[in-house]
Amino acid sequence: MMTMEPSAVIAKRIARELRSGMLVNLGIGIPTMVAAHVADDVRVFFQSENGLIGTGSIPEEGMQNPLLTDAGGRPVMALPGASTFDSAMSFGLIRGGHVDVTVLGALQVDEQGLLANWMIPGKLVPGMGGAMDLVTGAKRVIIAMQHTAKGKPKILSKCTLPKTSERPVDLVVTEMAVIGFPNGRATLLETGPGVSVEQVLAATEARLTMSDHIQPMCV
């Protein structure tokens, strides 16, 4: 078997969570890659919080429109049926519970599913952008991240970095595991390709509850 890049494993697995008709917001980094792995027969509406529903892929060289960009300011295409709107509408969609799924990156996630993904005090203070609104308002929050950072666990008993919201996330997908939060407790649901339960536990600081049916991740 060819080994897949960790980011590809994560993006592929998350793409399977998306259904036709859903309004979905993807953060920057690995979350953006999810779009490329959605099955052909699944028609998802992707939102860019700068004011677009129907976000497409990156246009070919010479086909960019400087007034059509994603939330990172990069030129994108708009799919047939796309719509544009102002920032108040865009965040009304987000905060008002009209976005079905948001996929975001993370610095840390804790045992209860609380997320830290917007600053490292004294080191990196970029601003929360739309992250706090997305985590607070989206119907379902999925985290796409590598399981560890420089060998250190990112899934902790408690976040040490400033939190993004008091609302816990719903699912964490890493290259090693899929973790859900039934009853507010981090629960191992699936293991990544070629990864054992023991390896997941060794790379996780948080106490993980074991699901009755831990399955291999299907990617």
């Binding site: 677009l52 108040a88 965040f91 952008g129 308002g137």
Partner: protein
Amino acid sequence: LPTGIIHLTYVKAATVLLRIGLRLEALQRQIEMKIVTPEDAVAMIPDGATLMIGGFMGVGSPERMVDELVRQKKRDLTVIANDTAIPGRGIGKLVDAGLVSKAIASHIGLNPEAQRQMIAGKMAVDLVPQGTLIERIRADGFGLGGVLTPTGLGTVVEDGKQKIKVNGKSYLLETPLHADFALVNAFLADYLGNLSYALTARNFNPIIVMAAETAIVTADHIVPVGLIAPDHVVTPAPLVDYVVANG
């Protein structure tokens, strides 16, 4: 029909057309007062002014106004905007020139110069969640005393803010943001100041136009009255104080 009646109809039609023509001319005279050069527009802005500036990562920012602010070296500005873009683009140019003493924004992470000035204490930065920022601006423009939002609850954002319960749910009270000037970029502006926007260049523009003492607009295209159909006008003309002439 008798020729007399046909003749009368023509005369009537001609009179109506003439009247419309005169009215348009009167409108035109009115608009001439609204049109300014970038130099004159920026000359109205004093040092220390609070500016709301449209744009998302520079997309939909009034670049010509920004360039002129830099040329006239307007100092000690407070800028309220979604982000500080990148060096050399949009609001990034004001940051590069060291003209911003305070930024109220949701994100400055893609502008290393803004990060550097914040860490060095040269530029104060007030970080506000994006949805809260636009609602605080909207609240001011819409005459509201603030907004109640769940965003920021349980985070550092709630520090020092009033928490209010409505129907058993907690919210933060976020207060309105007001500016001296709104610097807006539109795609189309007609001679009266009706505006429409293009694609993702709309973002903060139609909201900030309502939250400032004076709204100054640059437009990619200035077009005759009527070309933007009533259904497609996003910002109605009376909200616009000045349209900057295209060079």
